[in-house]
């Protein structure tokens, strides 16, 4: 009994250490973004906002932020639409080549980004879409559609199939049943998928770096600064990026969780 307690606390301590390892770079990046030293270490220098002022005054950063926002918003819209249509198809229909069909949408995350980047670069050059914002949007949609599909498919599997059938029986055609029954039921998953795909797109740098040309996104700017030298500006931009992505992830999670709770209360 006593040795079990020791083991228990050892395991808890271990888990805590692992989480520290995982969050250390995020936390340190935020601390360093307010730190005056050019090369931050312990003990910390004095508090400063100069790195934020530098990026605030940098037109390149503003331009990149604008591109990033346009890209991630468009990507989230396209990927969520594709994910929804595919999830619904998988939920409702059976057909011969279904495994192949599912592989088509689920495979992209298993291909290394650097390979996708090279393939997209060459392909977009070939079809005349090189260096355009639209090409980043297309590439990121391919990459993120699987996430949207997975989230929405999970939600559909919680649905009572007779809901849609009831709508048909009451005279709704398939489009109307889809719009008035399926979509509202999937709304939390749709919002969640929108946020998560936007977050992935907002952070993606390998493909964006290869194909963006002059339309740099925020991660591409970061990559270029990092390649140059040690510059704490990266921490300031990074903190802004962390804040954006973490906000999106938290919204996604909260939307999914609160809906679950509400339904439980409703049924119980």
């Amino acid at each position: 009994m006593n040795s079990d307690r020791v083991l228990k606390w050892f395991l808890y301590g271990y888990l805590a250490l692992v989480l520290v390892f995982i969050f250390a770079p995020i936390v340190f990046s935020i601390i360093f973004s307010f730190n005056s030293d050019r090369f931050p270490t312990i003990p910390l220098g004095s508090f400063t906002l100069k790195w934020y002022e530098t990026i605030w005054q940098d037109p390149d950063v503003w331009e990149a932020a604008r591109t990033s926002l346009i890209v991630s918003f468009s990507v989230a819209t396209i990927a969520t639409f594709l994910g929804f249509a595919t999830a619904y198809t998988d939920y409702r229909y059976r057909f011969k080549l279904k495994p192949l069909y599912l592989a088509l949408i689920l495979l992209p995350p298993t291909i290394p980004l650097i390979i996708m980047a090279l393939a997209m670069l060459a392909w977009f050059a070939k079809i005349g879409l090189a260096g355009k914002v639209i090409s980043i949007i297309i590439a990121h949609s391919v990459l993120t559609a699987p996430f949207a599909m997975a989230i929405i498919r999970l939600r559909l599997s919680q649905m009572d199939a007779s809901l849609e059938a009831a709508a048909w029986n009451l005279g709704a055609d398939q489009w109307r049943a889809l719009r008035r029954v399926i979509v509202p039921f999937c709304r939390p998953a749709i919002i969640s998928s929108f946020c998560l795909t936007a977050a992935v797109s907002f952070d993606e740098f390998a493909i964006a770096w290869f194909i963006s040309g002059l339309n740099k996104t925020i991660p591409v700017i970061i990559l270029e600064i990092v390649t140059g030298n040690i510059d704490p500006q990266v921490n300031a931009i990074g903190s802004f990026v962390f804040l954006t992505s973490i906000t999106l992830v938290v919204i996604a999670q909260v939307v999914l969780m609160t809906r679950d709770k509400k339904e439980k209360v409703h049924h119980g």
Partner: protein
């Protein structure tokens, strides 16, 4: 070709729902085809084009479509290519072993030793890094691991160091861990949590010691999920250019760095395509080997 059918059918005694028939084909295709067209044009086509490109030639700084073995022969005959290949496989294998080992006690704790609420929170925390900038996290490690960085400063207080951690394999592995550890813990936790607890308790009741239980009962039961986690860890590490470049020092370069250098330094896309195709073939072999091992029936 297709039959409309709900996966969760109502019992046959119930009146069958009247399924609207009109324009049902249009409806079905409108939902099914977008992804086929989209992924066909922008996922499958680029990958095929990549393979084709590895046979193109570059003349006068311009890429010309052709079918020649030149790039393949050139790359295959270079020692630096094989050095990079060996290094990349070695590092990815090492990362997989380290990450799987480091993740296990954490996943074990989450699966067996904490409440459902704690587990849910822990999983939520582990998902967050997946959606935060990997690049910024690696830059952060760069500063933390530097010779005058945070870790060496702390070690200095107790009279140790400074240790060189940047531009070493250690640095690269730390980077790979940043990328893969959260995902591997999540996958391991799920496969452990799905184990039938009664089997573990039976082993315990029959007097099997804890370590032996883990090796003879828990791990075999969680095998499929663990192999999938290992395969993902390998794929992610194998394809990452950021950690080996910024933390590992890139001497010699790994295959992904070779692709970046080749593309960014000029027009030699076909040679980069050769590297990419070799990487894909390697990953297919690893993935299929892993899947085959995961679903093989246990003998003995």
């Amino acid at each position: 070709m297709s039959v409309s059918n709900h996966p969760t059918k109502t019992p046959s005694s119930d009146p069958k729902p009247v399924r609207p028939r009109q324009r049902s084909d249009l409806f079905q295709q409108a939902l099914r085809l977008p992804i086929v067209i989209w992924q066909g044009l922008f996922f499958i086509a680029p990958l095929f084009f990549l393979v084709a490109m590895s046979f193109f030639i570059v003349r006068n700084y311009r890429m010309t479509e052709a079918f020649e073995m030149k790039n393949w022969l050139k790359m295959m005959s270079r020692d630096y290519f094989w050095d990079s290949y060996g290094l990349t496989i070695g590092l990815a294998t090492l990362a997989t072993l380290v990450v799987m080992t480091v993740a296990f006690p954490a996943a074990y704790t989450l699966a067996f030793r904490v409440s459902d609420t704690t587990r849910r929170w822990a999983i939520f925390l582990l998902i967050i890094p997946f959606f935060t900038s990997y690049l910024v996290r690696i830059f952060s490690w760069y500063v933390i691991l530097a010779e005058s960085g945070v870790i060496n400063a702390m070690l200095g207080y107790i009279g140790l160091g400074p240790y060189v951690m940047l531009n070493t394999k250690f640095g690269t592995i730390i980077g790979y861990m940043t990328l893969t550890l959260p995902l591997v813990i999540i996958l391991q936790t799920f496969s452990l949590a799905n184990i039938d607890r009664r089997l573990v308790e039976a082993a315990h009741n029959l007097g099997c010691r804890p370590w032996r239980t883990i090796i003879r009962v828990v791990l075999p039961l969680a095998k499929t999920g663990f192999i999938i986690a290992a395969v993902f860890c390998f794929i992610l590490s194998f394809g990452d250019f950021v950690s080996p470049y910024y933390l590992g020092g890139s001497k010699p370069p790994t295959l992904p760095i070779l692709i970046v250098d080749t593309v960014k330094s000029g027009q030699q896309w076909p040679r980069a395509a050769v590297v990419a195709v070799v990487m894909m073939v390697t990953l297919f072999i690893v993935a299929f080997g892993g899947i085959a091992a995961a679903y093989r029936r246990r003998t003995a």
